[in-house]
Symmetry: C2
Subunit: 558 residues, 2 copies
């Protein structure tokens, strides 16, 4: 038997075909490929189909479906299985029998099985005859690791098993997931793509059910205020919510922005295939669902961005994975910066919400600590300005040279503020200049210069932007917190108000937006490989850590 | 009708399925995807199949094949079509009728059609019933842009049309291509994968038929001696030869190294799909065949390199295109360097076979010109050594720092040779040191330092390697030419023999091999995107041009 050693894991789809290539086993094979998996396929039914609908269906005799399964299982080491359109009772029964004979009856472990209970096409064509529901629920579900019904499939399955309900709210989704779980699969994912929810709905659910784990996908992570400036609808826009319940008792709700897109033909096939691929690669079920929903979401986004009238599959497979992270869209304007922040979220949060920042916001920070910080920041800015000089020297075009040079002028303006503060606190320009440089200042400053010497423009930009955007985020975090009712942030009479105003103010935030454009354009011009992305992320993380170290030093004076 | 504006061109396959995913429409869809095309598919027959053979075939009723074709053509703008396994006469007839009704009969231009006349599986299963041959040759071939038979398919088609012959030589392939062309397709590609040829066979054909265009793929290009050192079998090893004849009178023979691989299941499907994809993207037929044969060749190489027992498709789709160029194999030990040279071949040849080099080889080069060159080369080497100092400064690991430093020591040894020459020609160390630097020297030297300052390690390595490897190639070219009977290269009494010996000698060639390893490892560690590859190639080309400029200057003294 061919081994999967040194090669891609094998995933099997048992489903119908789509002659137009956007759904069915064609979508499955493309999804497996995009996940680095090798696809095998058993055809359960043929369709004459295109983007306008399903013109005809030709079921494959159950015996030939079983023959194909034999050919695959006799030879290939299948790591995961997904089933899609099985069309009628005899095919469904044949699939169940073949799986039982080969695995359960022999006491051999069955590969994880994702059952996408495809019943009706978007265009209204029946893809599962009603008398097949018995085979599916009592035969296939008990073999399944996960079933993935959408709203109408969930309603149909519930009706068949004796519960008539319409799913119209998040509460209904939770109820339906609970009931569907009793049909025997190890887990249920009720997909909410056909519903529309809001952050208020989600918050209500989370508050009422503390046992439910929340997975937020997209712009809803913490400390991404800089990405939301000027885009208020990202905070309040409609959401898609999926509900994942398992026999083990795990309850998860996944949320992400809803995309108004017509590129959703084949979405269900893609999602279940992506889950199967992730499982084949060794992921846990929750991780697999989280990655697969994000993958499908990006696919729809990418299709939308290209303006395709066809399906998400026109784009998903042809765009290298790295490219997703650089494809800007109406619901994800800064995808690359978002990923940098998301992939360094722990240290980023420690930095943004640092004790120094909190005391500053409360107005209780010791003057000594602030003066220490301002003096060191003044010295640091000399390195920072020099780094932009190095960036100008490394640039290939006049606009790049101009942009680097303008930043140096901005820094010269910023040090004006520093001398102002110091004057206020009775510190002369001369004293400021003669301040001994702290180790944390040298570390951060010299690191900037070293990155600039060692790497290319991209690496230096990552370092400089981590610094620029970080202060922007701190400024906006304090501002956002100050606007809460009974906020802990004090503005009136706060000796550090000018500092807070500066970094949340228009001028600095304009520089932040220019910085965001710089990062996104740089990443989009040549989407980095995983190796290169990791190099960039490492620089970003290192700078964030050095920023934090800067404030640690300012807090721990003796 | 969905437009192909802003999106991938649509390619349609009409063929059988392969449940194990290595051949048939599964291989076709993977190949379309790898070429950035969107795949639509019409299933003509189902197989229960795996890597050990075809267990069963279920033909699809001709009427349902036609229904699928209607669904596709009614909705999608198909840019190219390929047909594979059509199994029986009624299906073949149905496909011909549908194409005629939709295109020819209506006076609408038919998309290019590649007909892969699949007849028998590798394992011996009949994939085209004999009574279907009439429909195929008289119905489908006249609609085809190209037919792509292998040895046994060509023999079967010829036998059916009245010529019994066994194809055992290149001459037989030419004859069979001529005869098959008379069956009505616009062109014929007779595939030689089941034959084995040698460079002698190919040379014999080219000498006897000057009208035949030669396309050499792989290591057979000019000025790649450095890549062949220590690998004599690449010069004499077995070759695969394909023959392409068209009604327009074009005759092409394509050669490339034969790979001993078991990963050839699905090769034919892949090749015809790759040709269709290239045509859909706008390539000419010859270019399409050249790219597609190279693509399939790389796929087999990659499969072999991974050690897969399965088919080339386990690997082709999952490896980004850039990765192919970095995947070393037994028949392609330096794929990345080979591509750098191949993509800069014109300037590379002008440099390696420069008039300066030729006069030096003949021993007729004016002493003044040589002395000028040696003095300037001496000055250049100072920049070159400094560039490695910069490389050490930019390095991230001790071995990288060591390697850069050792090169500086090698350069210091090389300048010893320069002072020796000069002493021989009566030039003192002092005179050498005080030589004014020529513009061509400053241009090349300062360019090295600038690349080192501006870019990352990879860019600097490209610049340094272009110089190191270029002299190695010049040395080997002169050596190779000197070994021809009645060579124009003079060794006895040639005043420049020491120079020639040095660059073709063991010590310098060892440095060349270390350099080759450096490039290949660097490229393989993080295969570059197309954008990045183009940046690297530009540096390589610029250095080669500056090297040539160096010799131009030495030849054009006043």
């Amino acid at each position: 038997m061919p081994q999967s050693k040194n090669m891609s894991p094998i995933v099997l789809t048992i489903a119908g075909t789509d002659s137009s290539g956007g759904a069915g086993i064609q979508a499955d094979l493309k999804t497996f490929a995009a996940h680095g998996c090798y696809g095998a396929s058993v055809v359960a039914a043929l369709t004459a189909q295109n983007t306008t609908g399903v013109q005809d269906v030709l079921p494959v005799p159950a015996a030939f479906v079983q023959k194909q399964m034999d050919s695959v299982f006799d030879d290939l080491e299948v790591k995961a299985i997904k089933t899609g359109m099985l069309f009628d009772a005899s095919i469904t029964k044949g699939v169940v029998e073949s799986l039982k004979t080969r695995f359960t009856d022999k006491g051999v472990a069955q590969p994880p099985l994702i059952c996408d209970p495809v019943c009706v096409s978007t265009s209204g064509h029946t893809l599962l005859q009603e008398h097949a529901l018995e085979e599916m629920t009592s035969g296939l579900f008990p073999l399944a690791t996960l079933i993935t019904p959408n709203k109408s499939e969930a309603e149909l399955l519930l009706k068949y098993s004796g519960t008539t309900m319409e799913i119209t709210s998040l509460e209904d989704m939770l109820t339906s997931a609970e009931k569907l779980l009793s049909l025997g699969s190890k887990a249920v994912l009720v997909k909410g793509g056909h519903l529309e929810s809001t952050m208020d709905d989600v918050t209500r659910i989370w508050e009422a059910h503390p046992e439910i784990r929340a997975i937020k996908q997209g712009l809803f992570d913490d400390n991404m205020e800089i990405l939301l400036v000027g885009h208020p609808k990202y905070r309040t826009g409609p959401l898609v919510v999926d509900v994942l319940f398992s026999q083990g008792g795990e309850k998860v709700v996944l949320t992400r922005p809803k995309i108004n897109s017509s590129s959703t033909h084949g979405t269900g096939c893609t999602l279940s295939s992506a889950i199967a691929s992730e499982l084949a690669r060794g992921a846990s079920l929750t991780d697999a669902v989280e990655c697969a929903t994000a993958y499908t979401h990006r696919g729809i986004l990418a299709a939308e961005a290209i303006g395709s009238m066809l399906t998400l599959h026109l784009t998903t497979i042809y765009i290298p994975l790295a490219d997703y992270t650089t494809r800007r869209s109406s619901t994800d304007p800064y995808p690359f910066t978002r990923m940098l922040i998301a992939r360094t979220s722990q240290i980023w949060k420690q930095y943004v919400e640092h004790e120094f920042v909190k005391q500053l916001g409360k107005g209780v920070l010791n003057r000594t600590n602030f003066i220490y910080f301002i003096k060191q920041d003044y010295l640091y800015l000399k390195y920072y300005a020099r780094a932009y000089g190095l960036l100008a020297a490394k640039s290939a075009t006049f606009p790049e040279i101009q942009s680097a040079t303008e930043t140096i002028l901005n820094v010269l303006h910023e040090i004006g503020n520093h001398t102002d503060y110091c004057a206020k606190f009775g510190i002369s320009k001369q004293e400021l200049e003669s301040t001994p440089e702290a180790t944390s200042t040298t570390a951060y400053g010299a690191y900037l210069i070293d990155v600039g010497l060692q790497g290319d423009v991209a690496k230096l930009v990552m370092a400089a932007m981590a610094c620029l955007l970080g202060y922007g985020e701190v400024g906006l975090w304090l501002k956002k917190e100050s606007q809460r009712p009974n906020s802990w942030v004090v503005m009136e009479g706060n000796p550090y108000k000018q500092w807070m105003d500066e970094y949340s103010g228009e001028m600095y935030q304009n520089a932040v937006r220019t910085g965001l454009e710089t990062i996104e354009k740089l990443a989009a011009a040549d989407p980095p490989s995983l190796v290169r992305f990791e190099e960039w992320r490492t620089v970003w993380e290192r700078c964030t850590r050095l920023e934090k170290g800067f404030w640690d030093a300012a807090m721990n004076l003796n």
